[in-house]
């Protein structure tokens, strides 16, 4: 066996901060033992030598007993040939009978750029299906839609994360970075931090100002903040005149959102709103950030738009040390939304209904543009259609666990069960893989190379540090193997670098242009910010400094209005449910729930509720509480805390259960479901221990 590299410089497998870390296989004598040592890198600006518990313990999953090492068909271990052959034959038969769209593909925002790209190409070229989308639709889509609309381009942070240190004030709407990506906090100055959240989260406790709004009212709050900014004379007149369009209509639209009106809707005191605006306006440099709390609503796009309007009115975007940004969640949430695993998109952030984009990509792929399918269903609409007469009969799932993570998850599990064929590629038997016809065990993170684009839009190199266990294959190998068996062999290479070189050509000339990025340049520069359109181009750390990539070079302000949650509280379901994350877990928990240190830190779901509400309902700490909504029921033990509003309860969503209740009502622009607010009722089912 060839000696393994020591101390490989790579990045964390989890969130979009992509903390730098060294992975070192441990040896005794000359013998490698089944452990790796992880140490933080201090040469990566994002984490500056920090790591959270998830990062420190990431190695535990490399040799976990939970790893799958052999394919399964109907639950029985089989060889790779048999598994791929079976899947390909079933796919071919289903497409013969029902047409190409009868087979769907679902991807993930944790997949490398190479995999995301290859998955999109596989769907369009090997399967010729329009039915592909991914879990990033549940994550970044509202911010992406709003920033595309306003700026003509969507890159989570349009500046290096270290620029945040230059901002005198940062408003974070609906984000809990102290739990989701702790080292991010190192870039924030607590004295200038404003946090908007229905809960007094770990992040809110760090902040100088916490605006504790009712769930589903972020948009009203943003409109009132803009109203105050205008009334108090904080309009950056010259900037607005030179760099934006649409201000007059936006100004007129927020005259209906005077702060006292918004106070009644949001519950946020007028004085707090005024202080927030004063902090932003008087800081010199200021940044407005949004997270899932503000975005995961059926009005998420408009909420982000309202915050962008505020940023533009104050003259922030395109000024160094200032701006608007969204805090991307999944590890490759940025790159994953750029290269074609989204229903309406082709590589390079191209639109699939744009004839020029189709011609360019078809040429790279060596196919006729007319043979490329058009736009397909968005994530929830796709999951909802599975196994229906009009919907797909087969699904290929990579890097996602929708049984836990999709809204109305009980219904989604039912749709998955109704499929003729469910193929799941994963490294463990996830909640969704348990339902699969065919399970394909994959390599992970430190076992394969690839690129990730972090929350800054910086393309990073993930290096292979250890060999995968025998019996597993990489996602690229799986796609290649399936393509061969579907008669589309030869155009799906399984080597990441070869795939990346093709991705570069496919993205050339697109919005997210990677054509000048190479693995060597990433290694030399410590990452490359897209767009990077030429070999001799260094990348673009700060976009928007001179102009916005819209036809007229100006940012577009769009008037929006508030509306209540799609499902408001009533007599039957009198409390708001909101969901969120815990420090010890990542996304659906498929990985982190299998790491002992993390399950010790956060062993089970809990229901957070306010002491007044607990008193009213006779709930004591540790009681098992049944949470009932219109779409489902779940149970969790009570954790009583004054950190949450008395009209709202909170469930962390890393376990199967909470999302049975969440509302699949979709944003009309982004198709984002309304994860963050629905109405529930509570009942004690058992006493505490």
């Amino acid at each position: 066996m060839a000696p393994l590299p020591e101390g490989t410089a790579t990045h964390c497998p989890y969130c979009a901060l992509q903390c730098g870390m060294h992975v070192t296989p441990l040896e005794i004598g000359q013998v490698e033992i089944d452990q790796v040592e992880i140490t933080p890198r201090d040469d990566v600006p994002a984490n500056q030598g920090g790591l959270c518990q998830k990062g420190w313990t990431a190695g535990a999953l490399l040799r976990s007993p939970h790893r799958l090492t052999t394919p399964l068909v109907h639950g029985k271990p089989v060889g790779w040939d048999e598994a791929l052959g079976y899947a390909a034959a079933r796919i071919a038969r289903i497409q013969d009978v029902h047409g190409p769209d009868a087979v769907a593909v679902f991807g993930g925002g944790g997949l490398t750029n190479e995999k995301a790209y290859q998955l999109g190409k596989f769907a369009r070229v090997a399967l010729r299906t329009s039915q592909i989308d991914y879990n990033g639709r549940f994550c970044m889509s509202s911010a992406a839609a709003a920033t595309n609309r306003a700026f003509g381009l969507d890159r989570g942070l349009p500046f290096p994360v270290t620029d945040l240190a230059e901002a005198g004030a940062v408003l974070l709407a609906g984000g809990n970075v102290a739990e989701t990506m702790p080292p991010f906090v190192r870039h924030l100055n607590p004295a200038g931090l404003i946090v908007v959240d229905p809960r007094e989260t770990a992040t809110a406790r760090l902040a100088a100002l916490h605006l504790q709004n009712a769930p589903g009212t972020d948009l009203a709050l943003a409109l009132a903040l803009l109203h105050i900014a205008i009334a108090d004379g904080h309009v950056a007149e010259e900037y607005v005149a030179a760099r934006t369009t649409g201000f007059d209509a936006v100004r007129d639209s927020v005259s209906a959102w005077w702060p006292e009106r918004a106070e009644r809707v949001t519950g946020v005191p007028v004085a707090g709103m005024r202080r927030a605006v004063a902090m932003l306006a008087e800081a010199g440099n200021a940044v407005i950030l949004t997270g899932r709390g503000a975005e995961q609503h059926a009005k998420g796009t408009d909420t982000v738009t309202a915050y962008i309007n505020l940023a533009l009115t104050l003259g922030l975007p395109g000024r160094r040390g200032s701006g608007y940004g969204c805090v991307t969640g999944q590890g490759n949430g940025q790159g994953g939304r750029e290269h074609g695993q989204k229903a309406d998109q082709l590589p390079g952030y191209r639109k699939i209904d744009d004839p020029a984009a189709r011609a360019h990509v078809a040429a790279v792929w060596g196919v006729d543009p007319a043979d490329l399918p058009g736009p397909g269903r968005s994530a929830y609409e796709l999951l909802d259609a599975l196994g229906t007469p009009e919907g797909p009969k087969a699904l290929l799932l990579f890097g996602s666990n929708p049984v836990v993570s999709s809204p109305r998850s009980g219904h989604v599990a039912g749709r998955l069960a109704a499929l003729d064929l469910l193929v799941v590629a994963d490294l463990v038997l996830s909640d969704t893989a348990e339902l699969a016809t065919v399970v394909l065990p994959t390599a992970q993170w430190a076992e394969e190379a690839g690129t990730m684009t972090n929350l800054e839009g910086r393309v990073l190199l993930r290096r292979r540090a250890v060999a995968p266990p025998s019996g597993v294959r990489s996602d690229l190998e799986i796609l290649s193997g399936l393509a061969d068996r579907l008669g589309r062999g030869g155009v799906f290479p399984d080597d990441p670098r070869t795939v990346f070189d093709e991705l570069r050509r496919a993205s050339a000339g697109g919005v997210a242009d990677y054509s000048g990025i190479t693995y060597e340049k990433i290694a030399d520069q410590g990452g490359v910010f897209w767009p990077c359109p030429a070999d001799d181009h260094p990348g673009t750390p700060r976009i928007f400094l001179d102009r916005f990539p819209t036809p007229d070079g100006r940012a577009r302000m769009v008037a929006v209005d508030h509306r209540p949650p799609v499902e408001d509280v009533d007599a039957d379901f009198p409390y708001y449910l909101t969901t969120g994350r815990l420090l010890a877990h990542y996304q659906s928990g498929a990985q982190t729930r299998r790491v002992a240190d993390l399950t010790e830190a956060a062993p089970q779901p809990f229901l957070e509720l306010h002491p007044d509400l607990a008193d009213h309902l006779g709930i004591r700490p540790g009681d098992l509480v049944r949470v009932t909504g219109r779409r489902g029921v779940t149970e969790a033990t009570a954790r009583i805390s004054a950190a949450i509003r008395a009209d709202t309860v909170f469930l962390p969503f890393h376990w199967e259960g909470p999302n049975r209740l969440t509302n699949p009502a979709l944003d009309p622009v982004s198709r984002m479901p309304e994860f963050k607010v629905c109405a529930v009722n509570l009942a004690v089912v058992g006493g505490g221990r």
């Binding site: 518990q53 080292p183 906090v185 190192r186 007059d248 106070e263 509400l613 008193d615 009213h616």
Partner: protein, 467 residues
Amino acid sequence: MRGIVVVGNGMAGSRLVSEVRARDKKARVTVFGAEERAPYNRVLLSNVLAGTTRADQVRLHGPSWYADHDVTVHLGTEVVAIDRETRCVITGDGRRTPYSVLVLATGSEPVVPAVPGAERAIAFRTMDDCERILAAAKASRRAVVIGGGLLGVEAARGLAGRGLPVTLLHLKGHLMDRQLDHEAGQVLGDTLAGLGVEIMTGVTVTGITEGKVELTSGHVEADLVVAACGVRPVTTLAHDAGLHVERGIVVDDEMRTDDPAIFAVGECAQHDGQVYGLVAPCWEQAAIVADLITGADARARYRGSRLVTRLKAKSVELAAMGETHLTDADAEIVRFTHRRGGTYRKLVIRDGRLVGAILVGDPATVGTLTQLFDRGGPLPADRAGLLFPSLSGAAPVSPSPVRMPDAAQVCRCNNVTKGQIRACWEAGARDVAAVAAATRATTGCGSCAETVGGIVEWLCEQEGASA
């Protein structure tokens, strides 16, 4: 071609038009506004008077909005009659506009005090009024505001804020008597007095002459007189058309008049015996009518509104909601008064629900209490926590290393307890770096570094003390 015709382009009428367009991009909509101006937010006129908002910042729709949204607008055009027979409205120039659905949003008009010289007073209702008052204020040395209701208080505060000596006259025994109890009115009066508004309550104006407002006994000098004596619904058009009119145009739960093709919304409408003068109910009504006439929600019904009055005046925090006049005999009352400090807080609770509240001088709890009032949420057994949120559920202050239990989590990012840090110290670690290397504490967000340093220091001191 017939379509939706709206008479009135004020707060209710303009809102109705927006709500219709938000639901139906195609419906044919025509709106008549008596004012020449594009619609503006009347609620903000007090701010314009006070100088905290500019006149060009209160517009609800710009001139291009109507073309952009395919709405026909006739500004400065009064509708003088409704021909219900042929379903047409008739404007002053005799032009007839047919309707399939007519919505009356004719609003209300200021009540002018019935005293000699009343014409010398300027009402405070429209942007034109606001501009006249501001122009007159420039040349004035003393102002009088007649009427100590919400609008009068805001106007007086606004003029005083511009440096003009102001006297506020009120007929009843205390200010804002419809919303406030006597004590709250007194605290409000004190607060306004501290801001340069002279308050006279229990006074009746008998006439207005050059430079003077005459009272039953004595007079007040003033070269600017503003009348804020309430409003009355504008119902002539409806009345002349034979619609059922009492104090306002009588409507049912669909906001429909006794002619099924005609609706009324806003301050001109009377629903369940009630005429509303606040904007929130008017906008709720507009949304209901929009739901019904566009077919967006055929089951939409208006069931009345909960009233919240929130004063908008710099340095005067006041909110009043619901049944504020109940006493201990009818309800559970929780009250705190600190007159010298300008604070008065009163909660009215019935059947465990907040049914009314007065909050003077208390900006922090208004949001929470308003939402409890609106939604009837559960109240804590300890009512004091509602008035003083900091008493209950306050975030614990960062505990000292001495009193922190061993099980307390110090580093959230790496789930490290004080006990683990102690164990690490006992194993030889003597500074933060050594503790970090052994436990990973401080290596996440870094914000616990000070606490970890404190614990290590304390342990070292303990060692020194016991050595």
